[in-house]
C-alpha cells in the first residue's frame, strides 16, 4: 500500500538556503493495515502525509502508494489518484462551511467515480449513520460540535471507499471523550472498508492504541524548521 524509501523533501529557505523538511529512510504499510506516525513538531509528519496524498511532490527517494509511483505522476493524475485511493482526515476538520453534513460527504464523491451519482445521497447518509450522525444530515458545520464535525470528516474520508486513509492529528482539536470516539470510529470503519490507515500524532494516548508505529526523526541540517514549516503551512 505504502512503500517509502530514502524520501527527502527540501524547501527553499531564507537567503536561498535549502532546508530539509522531511527525511524518511524507510516506511512500509500493507493493504488494510494500520499504523501510527509519530515524531516531534517539525519532523515532517504533515509533509509526509501530503506527499502520500499526492498534494506535494516528493523531493528525492522512492514513494509508491497503492501501486502508483507518485514521482512520475502529473498533477492531474495525482488529483485523480487522490480522489480514487485516498481519504484524508485533518486536524481542523476542514469541512466546507456552506454545505450540510450530508453535502460535505457527497462533495468528496463528486470528484471521483467510486460511487455513481444516483447513489451518492444514500451512501453519504449511510456513512453519517455509521458515525452516529443520522440526525444531523442537514446541519452545517457551524451547527455541529467539534466532535460531530470530526465524525463528519471521518465519514467523508471513507466516501469513495479509499484504499488508504491518512489522518493528520485527528484528535488534536478534540477533548478526551471525543478523541476516543473519533479514533474508535476511524479504526472500525477503515477495518470494515478494508482501508489501510496511517494516523500522524504526537499524542501518547493515540499512539498507545496502535501496535505498529513509525517514528519520524527531526531532520538534521542545522536549521530550525518549526517556523519554516509553518511558513509553508506544514507542521
Amino acid at each position: 500500500m505504502i512503500q517509502v524509501k530514502n524520501l527527502e523533501k527540501w524547501y527553499q529557505g531564507p537567503g536561498g538556503t535549502r532546508v530539509l523538511a522531511l527525511s524518511a529512510p524507510l516506511l512500509d504499510l500493507g493493504a488494510g493495515e494500520e499504523m501510527a506516525l509519530s515524531g516531534p513538531s517539525g519532523s515532517g509528519k504533515t509533509t509526509l502525509l501530503h506527499i502520500l496524498a499526492g498534494l506535494l511532490l516528493p523531493g528525492s527517494g522512492q514513494v509508491r502508494v497503492c501501486g502508483h509511483d507518485l514521482r512520475r505522476m502529473t498533477e492531474a493524475a495525482r488529483d485523480r489518484f487522490r480522489s480514487a485511493f485516498i481519504g484524508y482526515v485533518f486536524q481542523r476538520f476542514n469541512l466546507l462551511p456552506g454545505l450540510s453534513a450530508l453535502e460535505n460527504v457527497m462533495a468528496a464523491m463528486a470528484f471521483g467515480n467510486a460511487v455513481p451519482p444516483l447513489g451518492r445521497t444514500q451512501r453519504a447518509a449511510e456513512l453519517l449513520a455509521l458515525v452516529g450522525l443520522e440526525h444531523r444530515l442537514r446541519h452545517r458545520p457551524g451547527q455541529l460540535s467539534s466532535g460531530e464535525q470530526q465524525r463528519v470528516a471521518v465519514a467523508r474520508s471513507l466516501a469513495n471507499r479509499p484504499s488508504l486513509v491518512l489522518a493528520d492529528e485527528p484528535t488534536a482539536s478534540l477533548d478526551t471523550v471525543n478523541s476516543r470516539l473519533v479514533l474508535k470510529l476511524l479504526r472500525e470503519l477503515c477495518h470494515q472498508h478494508g482501508s489501510a490507515l496511517l494516523v500522524a500524532s504526537h499524542d501518547p494516548l493515540v499512539l498507545d492504541l496502535f501496535p505498529r508505529q513509525h517514528q519520524l526523526r527531526q531532520p538534521d541540517d542545522g536549521v530550525r524548521r518549526d517556523d519554516l514549516a509553518a511558513a509553508h503551512g506544514l507542521a
Binding site: 501530503h50 456552506g98 470528484f111 506544514l234
Partner: protein, 404 residues
Amino acid sequence: MLLRMAWRNLLARPLQHSLTALAVALGVALAMAVLLLAGAFRDGITRAAEPFDMIVGAKGSPNQLVLNTIFLQDAPIGNISWDLYRRLEADPRVAAAVPLGLGDNYRGYRLVGASAGIFDLRSRPGAQPYLLIGQGKIFREDFEAVIGAAVARKLNLKVGDTFTTTHGLAGEGLEEEEHADRPYRVVGILSPAYGPYDQGIFTTLESLWEAHDIKEYGDGGESRREKGVTAVLVKPRSWVGLMQLYREINAGKEAQGAFPGQVLAGLFDLLGQTRRVLEVISGVVMAMAAATVAVSLYWAGVARRRETAILRALGASRRSVLILTMLEALLVTGAGAAAGILLGHGVSLGIGLWLREQYALSSLPGFYPGEFFILALVLILGLLASLMPAVAAYRSEVAPHLEE
C-alpha cells in the same frame, strides 16, 4: 454538485454577492430601458403617423408642420387658403382631403377643426379607421365636439357635457381669451387610439371660424373662408400621383407638402444620436458591473483559499476549481441580468405609461427580441470577468492553505 457548491458559496456571502448582482442588474436595466423605450417611442410615433400620407400646410419647417398636425405639438406655421384645399379635394389624384384648423384649446387640450372625413382616415386600405367613436356620435352641427379618450378621462367629460374654449394654444404664454359665448357640447368620445389624437378635441371647421369671426370680426365681417385652414391631410389614389402632387406643391409658393414618414426619419436620426449616447453610458455601466464581478469574485476567492484547498485535497482538479469560480460568476451575473431585464421592463413600462399619459406618444414597450442576446452578452461578460479570479483559484497552492 459543482453547481450546488457554487450556489452555496454565493449564499455564504450574501451581502457581497447581492451588491455585485445589483451592479449587474442596474447596468442591464439601463441598457434594456434605453432599447425598449427607443423601440416603443419609434413604434408609437410611426403608428401615429401611419394614417397620414401627405400633409399640406403653410411654407416653413416641415418638422413643425408634422408636429402640430399629427402630434398636436408646437405652434402652427400659418394658414393656407380655402381655395387650395378645394383644389386639392377636386384633384383626380386625391382620394380624400381632410382640412384641419388649429388654434384654440380647452384646459390645454387642442381644439382641432376638421371635416367629418377625419373619422375615415385609415393606416391602410381595409384597416379600421384610426379614429373610432367609442361613445356617442361624430359631430354634425357646429359647436358639437368629439373628444379624444385621454381628454375624456383626464377632464372627466361625458357625452352631453359642455365646455368653452380659450383662444390660442396652451402653454404659449399668451394672454388667454375665452370664447365664453360659444360653448361646445360633447357629442362623442373616441375609443383610445393610443396616439396623439387621444388628446385632441374635434369639431367642425365652421365652429372654429365662427368663434373667431364673432370675436374678431363680428357678424357679417370678413368672409369666414378667407381665414383658410392650418393644414390639409391628403390621401392619394396612387403613389405616383402623390409624388407628382408633392413636387407640384413644393415647387409653388403657396404651400408645402410634407411626408410624415420622411420627416420622422429625420427626427429619428436626431433621437438616434441621443440613443447612442445612452447606449455608451449603458456600456460603461456594464463594464463597471463586470469589473465589480471580477473584484468581488477575486476577493471572495482569496477569502476562500482554504475551502479551495480542501476541495483539492478531496480530489478536485485545478480545472474543477476554475469551473467552480466561473459557475459562481455565471450565477451572479445571470441573477443580476435576470433582475436587470425585469427592472428594465418595469422602468420602461413606467416611463412608457407616463409618456402615454403626458403626450400620448408612445406605444407601451413589450418584449424586445434582442433580450436573449443581452442575456448572453452579460453572461459572456461575467465569464470574462471571472477569468482573473478563476485563474487565481486555479493557481492556488493546496498545502499552505489547508491548515490556515
